[in-house]
């Protein structure tokens, strides 16, 4: 409700300001040969920005400080001796009760008289502060509007000012993305550092046993945190997935881009891309219920001991999941190879498959390799399929028919359930996350480097 009122207020202010700047601009006299610098819509936007910024600043200030002020107000409403008798948790509980009373939802248990009065007082306090904020925002906006409107003259460079604001807004948006990445990496690094104060990095990166003990009774009994079983499991599943996805995806891309009639292509391409839209949990389910049992039965038929949940199951299903990714990227890359190259080969009397094998694929190879690396980094980070279908057995072995565990699965295991972020049992998740991040980062950088080199060749 409150936010709706504020949004409505801002919209009305915005409209008013734009209109006012626009009409003012239209009224500018150009009689004595002075040319109006900016078009009316820039004057409108100029006034609108001037109006919106002070109003937004006041609302943002309230959003930032308002909670603390309200908190202090509530505490001031509770009798002093009660405050002193309560510990921090109890005080917070009381404050929460008073807040609920103020909203009118009611609370469990008996309502103490001071709680009731505090709730009532809070309600009127909230109403009044809200009114103050809204009025202050509106007044600030209108004052700014009048000021900005007064500034409009024929030579005012409103266009440049508006463009600068747009520039800053765009910069801020990209800064959000960059800062988020930086923040995530920083938190990964600092938490991983804490983990390494418990476990020596050498024991982590080169340890061959993964056995994090949850019984954190004894200070020394942290368990063993060897990365290698998880890394091997991850790489094995990724390898199997690529063995499935690369040939199938690439052949599909070649067929679609070179052989298929365009009406078939128009139907088939979206259908393949739908595969990419299936949630990975559904793939995991499919792996667990259908593919795993099928592989086990097939294995017993040919005399192989294949477990229903194994690296093979997870790898195959993950490969199927990545097919559209590979085929769609490869298709784009094959289509980027200039037509003149294909013509050149045909002109020499090369057949279609000769042209594809000897000219098209070599020319597209760097791009296709880039696509594959992007697909690998997806497979490395994939979680749901592996959680369900890989069996979660963090033992170092090379047999793909046995259950394995991956880095992602172990992160899930370490963080789900009751976890205490002081011990290595949970902190190891950050070290694993950091490892995963570094692996995918390297793959992505390498892939982008290759893709860029490919682009330079033909543009």
């Amino acid at each position: 409700m409150n936010s709706l009122v504020i949004a409505g207020l801002l919209l009305v202010l915005l409209g008013l300001a734009y209109q006012s700047g626009w009409s003012r601009s239209r009224g500018l006299s150009t009689a004595n040969g002075v040319k109006v610098h900016s078009r009316p819509q820039y004057h409108g936007s100029y006034v609108a920005i001037w109006t919106l910024v002070p109003a937004l600043i006041i609302i943002a200030l309230w959003a930032w400080l308002g909670d603390g002020i309200t908190h202090n107000f509530i505490v001031s409403q509770i009798p002093v001796e009660t405050v002193q008798s309560l510990d921090q948790v109890g005080l917070n509980a009381t404050i929460a009760r008073i807040r609920s009373l103020a909203t009118g939802y009611g609370v469990a248990g008996e309502i103490l008289p001071y709680e009731q009065t505090a709730g009532d007082a809070l309600r009127s306090f909230q109403f009044i502060t809200f009114l103050i904020v809204v009025v202050a925002a509106a007044v600030a906006g209108i004052v700014a509007l009048l000021y900005a409107r007064g500034r409009i003259t024929a030579r005012l460079r409103a266009r440049n000012a508006v463009e600068r604001v747009i520039n800053i807004a765009l910069l801020a948006c990209s800064a959000v993305a960059i800062l988020t990445t930086v923040g995530i990496v920083a938190s990964l690094v600092s938490e991983a550092y804490k983990f390494f104060t418990f476990i020596h990095p050498l024991d982590f990166f080169f340890g061959t046993v993964w056995n994090p003990s949850f019984s954190s009774t004894g200070g020394a009994a942290h368990g063993q945190y060897g990365l290698l079983p998880l890394l091997v499991g991850t790489l094995m599943i990724t390898l199997i997935a690529m063995l499935v996805a690369v040939p199938v995806g690439l052949m599909a891309a070649i067929y679609l881009s070179q052989y298929a009639h365009h009406s078939f292509r128009a139907v088939a391409k979206p259908i393949i891309e739908i595969l990419a839209g299936i949630p990975t949990i559904v793939f995991g389910f499919f792996a667990l219920v259908t593919v795993g049992p099928f592989l086990r039965d097939f294995g017993s038929l040919v005399g192989l001991d294949i477990k229903a949940t194994s690296a093979l199951t997870a790898g195959i299903v993950m490969g199927i999941m990545i097919i559209p990714f590979v085929s769609s990227l490869s298709d784009d890359i094959l289509n980027q190879v200039p037509r003149t190259l294909r013509d050149g080969a045909y002109g020499l009397g090369a057949t279609k498959s000769e042209t594809i094998r000897n000219v098209l694929l070599p020319a597209a190879l760097p791009g296709i390799v880039g696509a594959f690396l992007l697909a690998v980094s997806r497979a490395v980070g994939e979680t749901m399929i592996v959680v369900l279908a890989a069996g979660n057995s963090p033992v170092l072995r090379g047999n793909p028919f046995e259950p394995v565990a991956t880095i992602t699965v172990s992160i899930v295991n370490q963080l789900t359930g009751d976890s205490d972020f002081a011990g290595p049992q949970s902190l190891v998740a950050f070290a694993l996350g950091l490892t995963l991040f570094v692996i995918t980062l390297c793959l992505n950088v390498f892939a982008l480097y290759i893709v860029r080199r490919f682009r330079e060749q033909y543009e």
């Binding site: 365009h262 200039p338 003149t340 190259l341 294909r342 013509d343 050149g344 080969a345 045909y346 002109g347 020499l348 009397g349 090369a350 057949t351 000769e354 000897n358 000219v359 070599p362 020319a363 060749q457």
Partner: protein
Amino acid sequence: MDMLAGKVKMTQQSVNTAMNPADALERPIRLTARDVTVHYGAKQALHGISIDIPDRAVTSFIGPSGCGKSTFLRCINRMNDTIEGARVGGTIKLDGEDIYDPSLDVVELRARIGMVFQKPNPFPKSIYENVAYGPKIHGLARSKTDMDEIVVSSLRKAGLFEEVKDRLNEPGTGLSGGQQQRLCIARAIAVGPEVILMDEPCSALDPIATAIIEELIDELRENYTIVIVTHSMQQAARVSQRTAFFHLGNLIEEGVTEDIFTNPVNKQTQDYIMGRIG
């Protein structure tokens, strides 16, 4: 048909009395096209083209953009097959054999009729492999020495060997534009074609590279039947013995180059040559 034959005869007479008696005209006819039409989807790009192309001479197709000259050129080695929605009608015969006969193998045809494109399009391979590619897919070389021989002689014929002999293993895409185009000519020659089609081979090149290619075309004419599409009338006048003028999908006039440029019969040809259309 009769009219056309009459015209050919007429131009022969005029040339016999004019300054260029030696060339082109006593040569046997290599390619014959009759009533060739091309549709791209619903749009008709060529309206019944009939022309005879003589052996071991340069025939140039001129005309404004979109007149159908490149389209017709691409009919001769069936490159239009690779364009979706293109339909070709009429007949084109190479040495009396219909090239649109369903039983004809298009791969074999393209080995006999080579093509050089507007934009130099070397494969992203080494210079050597670029030239060796055609002979390799057609199985023309029995041994590595055979192949070396083909590559070297093709590069020599294309006038490129001296410039690249020390870097045959470097990528063909690293050459200059004019060298790339000569590499493409060498690549076409390596297959041992009888006819070479050139689709505006100099339009992406600077004047010096153009002059080198034109000189090369003049040399190649001794061994190959050459058909060249060009935007430049000067180029047509310099390199070709016969010229055909296309306009709006029709063949307007065709004859000995000298005549077309000095004494065109058709008003449209005259306008084009005087720079009034196009």
